[in-house]
């Protein structure tokens, strides 16, 4: 991603929403890639292009803390080019990519490779996440100083939870030196061994090996205790259980430095989606019970969860056309996140501002990114959204290479119509 737009653009008459800052009909002026002014009736001089946004929302570009871009190593599933195109189509202007590439991003050279590709082919800003341990093996810490210098914004072993308590403790302690959040996928691999679906009624009926909620909860508990012990920044990926939300809520009130994210599928679907052995409903953490979904929604509402993240995980079609047991975990999410999140507004769970905050400033703050805001002087990363547009999810139309979504055929309300990164339009519907 390259340019700084030479000319200026005036987005007029839209409903400008930057939670906590502004929520009213206003004009927004972009100049030299930055937000130059926000206000009523800004003058349209002759040298300014004008975009009429009447009836549309003008929002900070979304920030996704949890994306799998698959490059290097799994370019048949996704590339930085296709992944960022999917992000742009979903209104995301900044995405953090997980290190589970081949090779694992545990070094400066991989981080630089990703950033180089993002610069030359990417459509949105890419923030790499480095590995907590070398090759994500859970044993020796990676070189955080080097990763930080190269551009990593956090460390995580992604789908491989750090099982060893002492390794996790050292990671948290050491990361503090560089103010890097440590991101953990909370799953006790012993308790979830062989599991492919939530251990609940559906798994029992289908004869699938279950992953109990407790497998997540015990690791959330351990991580929270270690975060308190070390005073370091802990970020918990994709919470999916009622127990997790209860413990995070309690830890936050105690002042533990923890942030957390939840994925749209975990607040929109239950274990029931797995019936008929639907491999597009196979993810990790698994789709849980109704009460867990309710708990995630409540945690989004009360601020226990800071961010909506997609855990965008593209897979090739043939990989998902397998026996449920052998199909890989994960679904794509960048292009459906907004519509799904807004259905919480339709259902009366969240306000529009709450949803926008969870997609913008919430995640930006969790990782300390200077993103997710429409403050004057910041980079003009903007999503323009038609809030009443209804559309049907058609995986064949995705910009992502992945077609693996359980939401195909769903009717969603609210659609990104234009996305700007640094003032440059990177997507229009």
């Amino acid at each position: 991603m390259s340019t700084t737009a030479a000319q200026s653009l005036l987005i007029r008459h839209g409903l400008v929403i930057d939670p906590g800052r502004i929520n009213e009909q206003a004009d927004l002026l972009i100049r030299d890639g930055k937000i130059a002014a926000v206000g009523k009736d800004l003058p349209a001089t002759q040298r300014v292009d004008v975009l009429d946004a009447t009836g549309l929302w003008v929002l900070p570009g979304f920030v996704d803390l949890h994306v799998h871009l698959r490059e290097p190593g799994f370019e048949y599933q996704e590339t930085i080019q296709t992944g960022t195109a999917a992000a742009a189509a979903g209104g995301f202007t900044s995405i953090c990519c997980m290190p589970n590439t081949l090779p694992v991003n545990d070094s400066k050279s991989i981080t630089e490779f990703i950033l180089d590709r993002a610069k030359s082919e990417g459509l949105v800003r890419v923030y790499p996440i480095g590995a907590i341990t070398k090759r994500s093996e859970g044993k020796e810490l990676s070189e955080y100083a080097e990763l930080k210098d190269a551009g990593c914004v956090a460390v995580s072993d992604d789908g491989k939870p750090v099982m060893h308590g002492m390794v996790m403790r050292r990671a948290l302690e050491y990361a503090r030196t560089f103010d890097l959040p440590v991101v953990d996928h909370c799953e006790c691999l012993h308790l979830s061994e062989g599991g492919v679906a939530h251990e609940g009624l559906v798994a029992t009926e289908l004869g699938l090996h279950g992953m109990p909620s407790a497998a997540e909860d015990v690791m959330v508990a351990r991580n929270l205790e270690l975060a308190e012990l070390t005073g370091s920044k802990l970020h918990l990926a994709h919470l999916s259980t009622a127990g997790s939300t209860r413990m995070v809520r309690e830890a936050k009130t105690r002042g533990v430095s923890v942030t957390a994210e939840a994925c749209p599928h975990h607040f929109m679907l239950t274990e029931e989606a797995v019936r008929e052995f639907n491999t597009n409903a196979k993810m990790n953490p698994p789709l849980r019970a109704r009460r867990d979904v309710e708990a995630i929604r409540a945690a989004l509402k009360d601020g226990t969860i800071d961010a909506i993240a997609t855990d965008h995980a593209p897979h090739a079609v043939y990989e998902k056309q397998r026996e449920f047991e052998f199909a890989p975990f994960g679904i794509v999410g960048l292009e459906t996140a907004l519509g799904l999140s807004l259905s919480l507004v339709e259902e009366g769970i969240l306000t529009v501002e709450e949803v926008i905050r969870l997609l913008t400033s919430g995640p930006a703050k969790a990782f300390g990114l200077p993103r997710g805001t429409l403050a004057v002087g910041s980079d003009a990363d903007i999503a323009v959204v038609d809030p009443v547009a209804q559309w049907v999810v058609d995986p064949e139309q995705f910009k992502s290479k992945g077609r693996n979504t359980p939401f195909g055929g769903w009717k969603l309300k609210g659609r990104v119509v234009k996305t700007f990164v640094g003032g440059k339009m990177v997507y229009q519907v």
Binding site: G200, E205, G207, L208, E323, E325
Partner: protein, 306 residues
């Protein structure tokens, strides 16, 4: 009334009427199996492929005999899952077999839901001959057929399923069918073998076998998977056998005319004592005989409408 479906994937999909139709049809095939000439020309020219990813001599033989008594041609295709995990997908394997003009694919596979993948993509009728811990519908049907012969009515029948419920496809298929048919179903075994939320399927859970057996009309023993991997579900075979083995003394806790069933192969002296296995209460060999008639009925009923 007819079976308007291409495939038989599980008992959960079948209505009470469909179950009754299959049992009723099996009556006729049991009669055929009792003749000197145990063969009818019904499926002449049809091809049945037994595609088995797990060794199971008895189920495969039963299907083979059923197909042959209907005059179909039978091919046995034994595949190993390990090779499949590495290379060719299940769908590729099955598509290749279908390309040889198979009319029926009888699939035994260790992975739950595997038959459904084939059923959706292939023209051939797919019969689930056991998919992991999910279902084993023809086993449940032959169990029902045997019960119906001996007890007439399903309604009000008190039936206890004993053993590793969590990992048993036989238990799942039978629970699904028997609850639908109005029987009182109990499951008994240690909590390590009891899947979560099982009571929501309409069964009563017992951890104490003696309690479970009181008033039982039928006891269905499951085979103990001694070879199962991972952290053990019980400390020793000796202890399991002492707490959950069916002995003559325990048998006396049940009704006087109790039936003892077992899907086989039995571990003598482990889940069932030799005295019980060979007693008058045991209908284990009737189950085997009836298996052929049930499988003939299933192949016959699925052969229409394709």
């Amino acid at each position: 009334m007819s079976l308007k479906r291409k495939d038989l994937l599980g008992m959960a999909d079948l209505s009470v009427e469909e179950i009754q139709l299959i049992l009723q049809t099996a009556d006729s095939f049991k009669e055929v199996s009792g003749r000197d000439i145990k063969k009818v020309p019904t499926l002449r020219g049809k091809t049945v492929v037994n595609l088995f990813f797990e060794p199971s001599t008895r189920t495969r033989t039963s299907f083979e005999l059923a197909a042959k008594r209907l005059s179909a041609d039978v091919i046995n295709f034994a595949a190993s899952t390990s090779s499949v995990v590495k290379g060719e997908t299940l769908l590729d394997t099955a598509s290749n077999i279908e390309a040889m003009q198979a009319d029926f694919i009888v699939l035994r596979h260790p992975s739950p839901g595997a038959p459904g993948i084939l059923a959706r993509s292939l023209r051939a009728s797919v019969v689930n001959a056991g998919d992991g811990s999910h279902e084993h519908p023809t086993q449940a049907l032959l169990d029902l057929f045997t019960l119906r012969e001996k007890k007439r009515e399903f309604k009000g029948l008190c039936l206890v399923i004993v053993g590793d419920i969590a990992h048993s496809r036989v238990a799942r298929s039978n629970i699904s069918a028997l609850v639908k048919l109005g029987a009182e179903v109990r499951v008994a075994g240690p909590p390590t073998m009891m899947p979560r939320h099982i009571e929501e399927l309409g069964v009563r859970v017992f951890f104490n076998l003696d309690e479970a057996l009181k008033g039982a009309d039928v006891i269905m023993m499951l085979r103990l998977q001694i070879e199962r991997q991972g952290i053990a579900l019980f400390p020793s075979i000796r202890e399991y056998s002492r707490i959950y083995g069916l002995t003559p003394e325990r048998l006396r806790l049940a009704e006087r005319d109790v039936l003892v069933m077992h899907p086989g192969p039995i571990n003598r002296g482990v889940e069932i004592s030799p005295e019980v296995a060979d007693s008058g209460a045991s209908v284990i060999l009737d189950q085997v005989t009836n298996g052929v008639a049930i499988r003939m009925a299933v192949l016959y009923l699925l052969s229409a409408g394709r």
